[in-house]
């Protein structure tokens, strides 16, 4: 299949009526769920994954990818209206979005955010498409040892960027790898860590673990905080939409630069949305005319920079995911896990014989971004009202849906117990600052890591770590992990010399 055939076929796949319908369903549900207080994109994806498994390949792709691709867009609503970040990627939006809302320009800020989001999404998708010719030969060059180290690299990167105590992230990432090994080992037939339990014999499924790890702790957090943002005043949302849309196009150069920042951040596994938004905000503040005086006081450029970067990041993060099978973030790990289950396997195949699937992703990023932004602009008021739903109404309803979602995965009541157990464990981890996302990444990448580890060992024994690319990656990984310690050591030595 030539590249142009693949581009066309990719578009046709998602324009099939049922596939398109599932994309629309994904967009509406994702935007609504993300707008609800305390429900993040991971919860939204986890709750929808059981539905995806009943669909055919392209319908499932449309549902899963659209839910993920648009999850950053509606995040801006609570940031702008109430100064409460809707997700980690919308924290910097508060800096200028909230002052705009207080100045009576809420609608303008929201429209600018949604439009920039769409433009950023399109830019990210274009960069992804342009990177494919470079990625193809690169992926073919790599063998099992390189892929094994790349998986470790991906888990370590997500782990190390999770707080001051980086060891915590690494421990949880490794725990994810170990959890992936629970069940009967497919090759040797040996049961591992099953304790004779039938549910554990099949291994721990992604859906109940994810719902438990992410949805339940968020619900507990809603219960614990005991308050909602519903008491806050809803600012004027009637005028300023057109101005907001115009702003994004007037500052097109800022949109492109911020999107580039987003794509760059997305391409590096581990750097998440919040890094993209702060980087883009910092870049805009440093380069825009008069920004020093106006940023932080309600400058629309601050909103535009952040929102174009956070959505462009998604296209960038698909580059390592599709090429090397390394999800750039925990949300993408969930998407990746879902895609594996519906039969889409990233790597060589998806860039060569199944290139149409890759272009479906690209088209989805473009079309879903545009449709979501349009819907968000049109339905600003209902979405803003959704943010004010009382947690007491949300908690029992989402809990009930979570129970069915966990069960639907394998029609096994044991999966509900798995979900509840991981729910309590996830709350415990969150309470003490142990990051949960590396666990998910370890769980999703574990089987691939084990396969590549064994093949590498069979081919080269332990000497596989000495191969040029593998060795270089390992050294790079050690340097990245050890750099803070080395820096502190050098600083102490320098202080000692001065004394």
């Amino acid at each position: 299949m030539s590249t142009w055939d693949a581009v066309w076929a990719g578009l046709i796949h998602i324009l099939e009526p049922t596939a398109f319908l599932y994309m629309m369903l994904g967009i509406v549900i994702s935007s609504t769920l993300v707008a609800l207080p305390g429900i993040g994109s991971k919860t939204a994806i986890a709750l929808l994954l059981p539905l995806a498994f009943t669909l055919d390949k392209f319908e499932a792709i449309c549902l899963i990818v659209s839910v993920w691709a648009v999850s950053n867009t509606a995040n801006s609503i609570t940031s702008i209206l109430f100064a409460v970040p809707g997700g980690s990627g919308s924290q910097a939006t508060i800096l200028d979005g909230y002052p705009m809302a207080r100045n009576g320009e809420a609608s303008r800020a929201l429209s600018a955010a949604f439009t920039s989001s769409a433009l950023g999404g399109i830019f990210g998708a274009i960069v992804l498409a342009m990177s494919l010719p470079v990625l193809k030969p690169l992926v073919i060059l790599l063998g099992p040892p390189e892929f094994f180290v790349l998986i470790l690299f991906g888990i370590a990167m997500v782990s190390t960027l999770s707080g001051k105590n980086k060891a915590k992230g690494l421990v949880i990432g490794i725990l994810g790898l170990l959890i992936s090994s629970v069940g009967i080992h497919l090759v040797s037939g040996i049961p591992r860590f099953t304790f004779g339990n039938l549910t554990l014999m099949d291994g721990l499924n992604l859906i109940p673990v994810t719902i438990g790890l992410f949805a339940i702790p968020e619900l507990i957090s809603l219960v614990a905080s005991g308050s909602s943002i519903s008491k806050m005043e809803l600012n004027n949302l009637d005028s300023g939409r057109r101005q907001g849309i115009r702003d994004s196009f007037t500052h097109w150069w800022l949109v492109i630069r911020s999107s580039l920042v987003g794509v760059w951040v997305g391409m590096i596994p581990g750097l998440g949305s919040s890094v993209a938004d702060w980087f883009a905000y910092g870049h805009a503040r440093a380069t825009e005319k008069g920004a020093e005086e106006t940023f932080g006081k309600g400058d629309v450029r601050g909103v535009i920079a952040v929102d174009s970067a956070t959505n462009a990041k998604e296209g960038g993060s698909l580059i390592p995911t599709l090429a090397f099978g390394i999800p750039g973030s925990s949300t993408l790990a969930l998407v990746f896990g879902g895609l594996l289950i519906v039969g889409v396997k990233p790597g060589k195949e998806i860039l060569t014989t199944h290139l149409d699937v890759t272009f479906s992703f690209i088209w989805l990023l473009i079309i879903a971004s545009v449709i979501t932004s349009l819907l968000c602009i049109i339905f600003i008021k209902p979405l803003a009202k959704a943010t004010q739903v009382r947690p007491t109404l949300l908690v029992p309803v989402i809990c009930a849906v979570s129970v069915v979602g966990a069960f639907a995965n394998s029609n096994n009541f044991g999966d509900i117990i798995v979900m509840a157990t991981f729910g309590v464990f996830g709350y415990w981890l969150r309470l003490h600052g142990w990051p949960r996302p590396p666990l998910l990444l370890g769980l999703v990448l574990g089987p691939e890591a084990e396969r590549h580890l064994w093949t590498s060992y069979q081919l080269y024994e332990w000497e596989f770590v000495l191969r040029p690319i593998t060795g270089s990656l390992l050294i790079l990984l050690i340097l990245i992990l050890g750099w803070p310690t080395l820096k502190a050591l050098f600083a102490k030595l320098q202080q000692g010399e001065r004394v």
């Binding site: 614990a224 908690v395 415990w428 590396p438």
Partner: protein, 163 residues
């Protein structure tokens, strides 16, 4: 249990878990043991380092700086005595939800427990009944009929009324 104790228990539990996986892995055939042994050997020293750094820092409640990975920080209101009381009630209700689903079946147990939660939270009766009915509609219409997912009957209802 205080937060400091809970934090220590979490660290030590992880340490015990990795020790177990290492020892269990060593008993497995080589091919099946590769990942568990390699992962546990790496995790044990890392857990010790993580616990050491936790103990070195002060005992005040720290918020999670995990925003890069998609988590928002734990707010101060989530770790108050009142918050923990609410969480305890939630755990009791959640256990009841799962137990009810098992005993009474999904179609009866889940809407019933949603209704109980809403009424306990002093939500208006009409709204509570409406939301519980919506759950029933989603379960029956969406999952059982739409997705052709056979939702299980309750153990208790089976005993009392048969299949």
């Amino acid at each position: 249990m205080s937060l400091t104790v809970s934090r220590t228990v979490l660290g030590l539990s992880l340490l015990a878990l990795f020790t177990y996986t290492l020892l269990a892995g060593l008993d497995m055939p080589f091919r099946a043991s590769m990942l568990p042994v390699l992962a546990s050997s790496l995790a044990l020293p890392l857990t010790l380092i993580a616990i050491f750094f936790e103990w070195k820092t002060d005992n005040t409640v720290k918020t999670q700086a995990d925003d890069s990975s998609g988590d928002l920080a734990v707010s101060a209101s989530e770790v108050s005595a009142d918050a923990f009381r609410r969480v305890r009630y939630f755990f009791v209700w959640f256990t009841g939800l799962i137990a009810c689903a098992h005993l009474l079946g999904f179609l009866v147990g889940l809407p019933l427990m949603v209704l109980i939660y809403l009424l306990a939270q002093k939500e208006p009766l009409k709204l509570s009944i409406f939301l519980s009915s919506m759950i029933l509609v989603i379960l029956y219409g969406g999952f059982q009929k739409g997705l052709v997912l056979p939702l299980p009957e309750g153990v208790l209802t089976m005993m009392l009324f048969g299949a």
